[in-house]
Symmetry: C2
Subunit: 342 residues, 2 copies
């Protein structure tokens, strides 16, 4: 029995025949904040600790400053549970009218990468200072913190993945300008690489990487990068495979000492909230990652397969050119989902 | 008489009929480094100080670590001469077969933005520490430094430009994660904005901005952002208008207390160096920015006009689908350049 926080989506519910899940739902987020002044219960982290996985919906509201809503929930969970690996697939799907991408000259199979983003420290350490507020010499410092442990473990994770999948590994950094952190990063990438002579590696500056995501996306297979760069590149990655409606992410504590978290990478889209028209596919894609992580890769693959079937059909939300509601897309997905024979 | 460092390119040489320039050439860069152990002469900054403008060629070589070649020349000049404004145009041109872009659904006139990048501090302050080297608790810190002066002046520059051109202004930041620097940035953007009620503003997270450069580039007019984000977004900007071959940048000290510097934003392309096939158009585009800045906007416009003529024709370098050499493209540009009647 696997315990997951958050209510099941339709596709997980269907799994219940063959695999047992035990769900719990926590109403934490911006509405909760507006009522209580907190983004989650005081002992929220303690409550979540007992679960195998956290299935997180999009968080955010115009009336709550982002740095409050995120440091009180999303970023707090990532850090408290040492979910130091953020895995974000960037994969071209095929719709009714060809591959789904805003790019010319990209064909079937041309984009299929996995971005491994450092998820626990670096630029997101939250360290800094705000000096001389309101004075002419006001100065604000934001410090990225790159530890040996933190840098080595994410790079090692990426090498392991590249090796296991027989893929190339590209490290994205910025050693020419960030003269401490990224010079260190590059050094660790090279050093760890000596243990993986079988893995073909590339090292790119983040600016060049951003350009190549658009100009030569087929060059990337496994990509490893820092917290901030991973944030930027995965949104860009989402853009080149058709937008946020399909972009999912897993926040992993690979040692399973703490629960891992699965989420769409998009925000709460306040402009359309409550209208029942949001695209559920990114959230559902993250379910597939959750199933993989929980040791059910055949089910994970079945969910991806079902997503691929749905995007070829007419039952799509408006962002994908359809007219269906969120729940119609969910139902359609549940309908086409084929249980693996295992 | 205007004094510029670096040798004239063909199009500036042609100006000599009506406008007098006085050029000097400094052979600083990686070859110089390999001979002398320095990227520029010891008194290089002093030597450059007397000039009105610096016309910089691409710098970098595989045998010199980037952080050396850049902190010893490019980044040093930007900082020493307080070239705190980096102006990078991102403009769609029309080639023989339509607009030059890897994006579908982008038509004539759809991309025409100016990115104003902070160029003197922020993430590029060079501040940090490398602690406990080689120990298990090794920790590397990289500190972004955002001063009131530095943040306000770049934001003000962008507001002034947006106002002068009747354009919208988009600030790109990341306040939800960079909880000191970018919260400060957002505050200054709002505060300064009160003096510009006539300028329509937008504020975007850097990840969303990267996505929108690909999905909705027409939404951007004037963009203002930090040093690092500007670096990433302008390479991405170059990508959506056809690549590095056309991407130019001006590093301005608007008060003209120190010389300003004009450059292609691409690197030295060591893979093709010395073969005479590099695309000179980015370098030439930066000449247009130099002419604007030196008070010759009609000449600046004439150079852009000539670039637009060249890209429609067959005399192009290989990256733009042609077979011409660097100097053939330069000659072609000089040939089609029409002197303004002023
Ligand atoms: C919401 C925000 C703090 C978050 C991030 O920057 O990590 C998001 O953009 C993401 O990519 O998961
Ligand atoms: C070469 C490098 C240091 C530089 C930068 O990051 O500023 C370049 O990428 C640029 O954009 O001008």
């Amino acid at each position: 029995m696997t315990r997951c926080s958050s209510a099941p989506c339709s596709c997980i519910a269907k799994l219940d025949d063959s695999v047992a899940f035990d769900f719990d739902d926590f109403p934490w987020g911006c509405e909760y904040y507006l009522r209580t002044g907190k983004m989650m219960a005081d002992d929220g982290i303690e409550q979540l600790r007992a679960f195998d996985a956290i299935y997180r919906g999009a968080v955010g509201a115009p009336s709550v400053p982002d740095h409050i809503s995120l440091w009180g929930l999303l970023l707090k969970i990532r850090k408290e549970f040492d979910e130091y690996v953020n895995v974000r697939p960037v994969k071209l799907l095929e719709g009714a009218h060809g591959v789904i991408t805003p790019l010319k000259n990209v064909g079937r199979g041309d984009i299929d990468m996995t971005v491994i983003r450092e998820n626990s420290e670096g630029e997101y350490a939250g360290a800094g200072a705000w000096l001389y507020k309101g004075k002419p010499h006001e100065t604000v410092l934001q410090t990225g913190v790159f530890s040996r442990v933190g840098t080595e473990r994410i790079i090692r994770y990426a090498y392991d993945l590249a090796r296991a999948q027989g893929k190339t590994l590209t490290s994205v950094s910025k050693g020419n300008a960030l003269n401490y952190s990224m010079v260190f990063w590059d050094g660790v990438f090279e050093e760890v690489g000596r243990e993986y002579p079988d893995v073909e590696t590339h090292s790119l500056l983040v600016d060049a990487a951003a350009m190549n995501f658009v100009m030569h996306p087929a060059r990337f297979q496994v990509v490893v990068t820092s917290n901030l760069f991973g944030d930027i590149l995965t949104d860009l990655g989402a853009a080149i495979v058709g937008g946020m409606g399909l972009a999912a992410g897993a926040n992993l504590n690979p040692e399973k000492k703490y629960p891992s978290m699965f989420e769409p990478i998009h925000g709460s889209a306040p402009d359309i909230a409550g209208r029942g028209i949001a695209n559920p596919l990114a959230s559902i894609w993250s379910v597939s990652q959750m199933l993989d992580f929980l040791g059910l890769p055949a089910w994970g693959a079945a969910v991806i397969q079902a997503i691929e079937t749905v995007v070829r059909g007419p039952v799509l939300t408006v962002d994908m050119g359809g007219t269906a509601s969120t729940s119609e897309v969910g139902d359609e997905l549940a309908r086409v989902l084929v249980a693996p024979n295992d």
